[in-house]
Symmetry: C2
């Protein structure tokens, strides 16, 4: 099962071989988030499972960090393709990994209802992309995050494996 | 299976009814981390599973954030009991939730070897505890984090449900 709410163009559908626990289509035990553009914001709607509780009825903070992190990385990727006016299926292939992740937990996030993540690009500085991500649950802001994404793979220069945040 | 490496006194063994995905003994699908004191540092050693990869052979950043987060919350709790010179089985019961979580990913964390988390208390300010946590993999520092823990439950005053970080 994938966590899809819209029949639209999801970033993760264009990442073949992605085994990531948070966003990989090829991880059958993963969270399988789906992200798409809504204007300049990237949206992810996701529904949790009982095993991902932190407290009774409340989502585990690490799982919330996981979906924020993966949605932000995929948004950084999609924004780079968008900046070059090309589709996610085109080459060169870019992939991003997390440099830093800062999450502020504002209110408990319920575990049994759909959460909506809204990510926007704050700045692009070379290989770094700064992403801001807000988490809403039934229109209530429950968390927000600043995430630094680093381009660690560019198929044009085969730079796979660069994970430094410097 | 619990991720125990030492026959010692684990914080999580004194948290009955804990269903948390990261640290709950009563979550059979969870990560089941175990934390213990080594002097002034709290240690957690944990071994991942294939499904928790982010990239091939590399731990998912959100899962790493999850074990950092839970280890830091449990360390904040244990430090509060320690400050009152009492055991984790004694009353009043204190529980902590995350205010903010900031993780810096320094190097990729391998997914197939034991990771060691070392957490220390930076400061205690009323209900807030500031925790610093380092992640080592075969003696290599792969990530470090600053975590703000908030006391959200004190059985002496029944303040369950206070999740504000302010």
């Amino acid at each position: 099962m994938t966590n899809k709410k819209h029949d639209t163009d999801y970033f993760q559908d264009h990442m073949p071989g992605n085994i990531c626990f948070g966003c990989g289509r090829d991880n059958h035990d993963g969270l399988k988030i789906s992200s798409y553009w809504d204007g300049d914001e990237a949206i992810c709607q996701w529904k949790s499972e009982d095993k991902y509780q932190g407290w009774k009825g409340i989502m585990n903070g690490g799982i919330l960090a996981t979906i924020i992190d993966c949605h932000s990385m995929c948004t950084a990727m999609a924004s780079a393709y968008k900046a070059e006016s090309r589709t996610l299926d085109s080459e060169p292939i870019y992939r991003y990994a997390t440099g830093t992740l800062k999450v502020k937990y504002i209110k408990p996030t319920p575990n049994d209802v759909l959460v909506t993540l809204r990510a926007s690009i704050v700045e692009i500085k070379g290989r770094k992309v700064l992403v801001h991500c807000k988490v809403f649950c039934e229109d209530v802001l429950t968390a927000e995050a600043d995430v630094v994404a680093i381009q660690v793979y560019n198929s044009a220069i085969q730079s796979e494996g660069i994970f430094s945040s410097e």
